[in-house]
C-alpha cells in the first residue's frame, strides 16, 4: 500500500516526526531563528549555542507537517559540532538534493530527504528549517519563509 509514497515518507522521517529529537528550547541560546510558512502553517524555531563559530548545541520547537518536523529534527542531529561554514556548505547540498534528488557525496541520515524532489509542493517544507538555521547563524532577526505566496 502506498509504495510510491515510501520515497517521501520513509520510516526514518515518520519516526522523527513522531518523536522529534532535540525538541525543546535552549535557555542559553546564543542565536535563534524562526521559520514560518503561513500557508502550510509550518512553524519552526531553532535555538543554537555557538562557541568560536561552532555549534555546541542545537534544538528546535514548533509544529508542522511530517516533512518539516522530521527535517528540523534530523537537522539538529546532524549539525552538532559543525562550523558556520560547514552549515552553509551542507545547506547547498541539501537544497540540491531535495530539488533534484541527487545527493552530492555521502549525505548520511539526510539522504532520506532525496525523495522529496518528486513532490515539488513539499520541497518548501523540507527546506524550511535549513533556511532558518542559516538565518540564525547570520544573526538575521526576521522570520524566514520558503513560501513564495501566502493565501
Amino acid at each position: 500500500m502506498f509504495d510510491d509514497l515510501n520515497d517521501l515518507y520513509q520510516q526514518v522521517i515518520l519516526d522523527h516526526s513522531k518523536c522529534p529529537r532535540n525538541f525543546h528550547k535552549l535557555d542559553h541560546a546564543t542565536c535563534t531563528a524562526q521559520g514560518h510558512n503561513p500557508l502550510c502553517g509550518d512553524n519552526v524555531t531553532l535555538y543554537l549555542i555557538m562557541e568560536n563559530n561552532v555549534i555546541k548545541d542545537i534544538s528546535f520547537q514548533g509544529s508542522g507537517c511530517a516533512i518539516s518536523k522530521a527535517s528540523a529534527s534530523i537537522l539538529t542531529d546532524s549539525l552538532k559540532g559543525k562550523s558556520a561554514a560547514d552549515v552553509t556548505a551542507l545547506f547547498d547540498k541539501v537544497h540540491a538534493m531535495v530539488t533534484t534528488g541527487k545527493a552530492g557525496g555521502d549525505m548520511g541520515k539526510l539522504a532520506v530527504f532525496a525523495g522529496v524532489h518528486k513532490f515539488p509542493a513539499r520541497v518548501k517544507c523540507a527546506i524550511l528549517p535549513w533556511h532558518a538555521v542559516v538565518s540564525a547563524i547570520d544573526g538575521n532577526p526576521e522570520p524566514v519563509t520558503t513560501e513564495s505566496q501566502n493565501g
Binding site: L14, D42, S63, G64, C65, F119, G151
Partner: protein, 420 residues
C-alpha cells in the same frame, strides 16, 4: 398522462450525475495513475463543455472591444457583454440590470464596496460588523477602510464547537452605531450556512448597510437579492462553472449612485477635460478600462448551464453529499470534524489525529484525490479553533456518493500509513 413529459425541477429531483460528468471534459482523466476525484470545488469549480465552447466561439467569431467601435464585431462584443449583465441580473433576481457591476471576482467586489462606498460614507468612530468566519477577502478590505477613515471593526462570534454564529447575541452586536454588516452566506472552511435573509432584515431595521459574500453560495442554490433584501452582494464566476477573472457585484441602484468611482479610465467617464471629468452612469462608472468580455460570455453560459441543471436540485444534492461525507467521517476514529452537525453546505473540514493536513493531502493526491489542506484564507478562525490548518473536501453536483465512499477508504489507508 405521461409524467415524464411535464418535468419541472421540483417534481423531478434526481440528478443524472453520470451524464453531467460527461459534460466536464477535465473530469475524465487519471492523476498519478488513478481516476481524478476532484474535491476542491470551494476553491474553484470545473467548467462544463458549454462554458468552454462559449468562450471559444466568442474568440473565434465575435471578439472586439466593447462600447467603442461602430463596426459589426464591436457591436457583437458589446451585445454579448450587456446580455451577460442582463442574465446576471436575472440570475440573482436584481430589480435593475444596472445593479450588476462586473468585477474580477468576490474579492474585487468587496474591495469596491469598502473603498468606494465605504470611504465616502464611513467616518471616524463608525463600526463595521463582520463575523469570525470571514474569508480574508471579507476582512482585509474592511481593515484598510477602517484604517483610512478611523472606523472600528467588530466580529460576531462563532460558537466554536458547532461552527455557528451566535444569533442569540446578534442584538448586542447589531447596534445603531454599526454602519455596515458584511458576512459570508456560506463559510468556505466550516460549511455553515448563515441566515442571510434574517441578518439583512435585522440590519435593515436599523439602517445598517449589508454586504453579502456569496462566493460559496452563488451557483450552489437559488439566490434572490430581493428576497434576501441585501444592499450589496458579491460572487465569483470561477466557483460556479464560469471562468476565472470574472465576478459580479450587485448593489442597490440608489447605493451605487451614491458611490463614487472605484478606478478611473476609459469607459467609466461621460466627459473628460484636462482638469475635470464627469462619470458615466451606473454601473459603467465602476468598470474602467476594457472589461473581461470573454469572461462575461463564459459566465453567461455558466449561469444558463446551472439553471438547466436546476439550482434547487444542485442545492439539495450538495447538501446530501455534505451530510453523507460528514456522517461517514464522524464514524471514523481519530477524526476531528469542524462546522455544524446538520444543515451544512456541501463541504467537510476535518483533521486526522497525528497526521498533518498537508501530509494527508499529499498522500491523497497520490491516489488521484484533489483535497485542500491549509487555513483556507481563514487564519483568524483557524487560530480561534486552535488549529493551523484543516483538510477539506468540497463538493459540487458532478461529484458522486461513490467518490465520498472512496475518499473514506483512502482516509483509512492514510491513517494506517502514518501510524505504521
Amino acid at each position: 398522462m405521461n409524467t415524464e413529459s411535464c418535468t419541472t425541477e421540483l417534481d423531478h429531483p434526481a440528478l443524472d450525475v453520470e451524464s453531467i460528468r460527461r459534460e466536464f471534459p477535465i473530469l475524465d482523466q487519471t492523476v498519478n495513475g488513478h481516476p481524478l476525484v476532484y474535491l476542491d470545488n470551494a476553491a474553484s469549480s470545473q467548467k462544463p463543455r458549454a462554458v468552454i465552447d462559449a468562450i471559444c466561439r466568442y474568440y473565434e467569431h465575435d471578439n472586439a472591444n466593447v462600447h467603442r467601435g461602430i463596426h459589426e464585431l464591436s457591436n457583437r462584443a458589446s451585445t454579448a457583454y450587456e446580455a451577460g449583465r442582463k442574465r446576471a441580473a436575472q440570475f440573482i433576481n436584481a430589480k435593475h440590470t444596472s445593479e450588476i457591476v462586473f468585477t474580477r471576482g468576490t474579492t474585487e467586489g468587496i474591495n469596491l464596496v469598502a473603498q468606494a462606498w465605504g470611504t465616502r460614507h464611513l467616518r471616524k468612530g463608525d463600526k463595521i460588523l463582520l463575523t469570525e468566519m470571514e474569508h480574508h477577502s471579507n476582512i482585509v478590505p474592511w481593515q484598510l477602510l477602517a484604517e483610512r477613515v478611523g472606523a472600528e471593526i467588530q466580529y460576531l462570534p462563532v460558537n466554536d464547537d458547532r461552527g455557528l454564529l451566535d444569533l442569540s447575541r446578534l442584538d448586542e452586536w447589531l447596534t445603531s452605531d454599526v454602519k455596515v454588516f458584511a458576512f459570508t452566506h456560506i463559510s468556505n472552511s466550516l460549511g455553515t450556512v448563515n441566515p442571510a435573509a434574517e441578518f439583512c432584515k435585522r440590519a435593515r431595521s436599523l439602517g445598517i448597510i449589508t454586504v453579502v459574500d456569496a462566493a460559496q453560495s452563488a451557483g450552489h442554490g437559488p439566490l434572490d437579492v430581493q428576497e434576501l433584501d441585501c444592499d450589496f452582494l458579491a460572487f465569483s464566476g470561477h466557483k460556479m462553472c464560469g471562468p476565472t477573472g470574472i465576478g459580479v457585484l450587485y448593489g442597490r441602484q440608489e447605493l451605487l449612485e451614491a458611490t463614487p468611482p472605484y478606478q478611473g479610465g476609459g469607459d467609466m467617464i461621460a466627459t473628460v477635460d484636462y482638469h475635470k471629468s464627469t462619470w458615466n452612469k451606473v454601473p459603467h462608472k465602476f468598470e474602467a478600462g476594457t472589461p473581461h468580455i470573454s469572461g462575461v460570455v463564459g459566465l453567461h453560459a455558466a449561469m444558463d448551464y446551472l439553471d438547466r441543471i436546476g439550482r434547487n436540485r444542485i442545492a439539495r444534492y450538495d447538501h446530501e453529499l455534505g451530510a453523507h461525507a460528514y456522517e461517514e467521517l464522524a464514524r471514523l476514529k481519530g477524526i476531528r470534524l469542524f462546522g455544524p452537525h446538520i444543515g451544512r453546505a456541501g463541504l467537510v473540514s476535518f483533521l486526522m489525529t497525528d497526521v498533518h493536513a498537508h501530509d494527508l493531502v499529499t498522500v491523497a493526491d497520490q491516489r488521484g484525490f484533489a483535497l485542500r489542506g491549509g487555513h483556507h484564507c481563514n487564519q483568524p478562525l483557524m487560530k480561534k479553533l486552535g488549529v493551523e490548518s484543516t483538510a477539506r473536501a468540497s463538493f459540487y453536483f458532478y461529484n458522486t456518493h461513490q467518490e465520498i465512499d472512496r475518499t473514506i477508504e483512502v482516509l483509512k489507508e492514510i491513517q494506517n500509513f502514518f501510524t505504521r
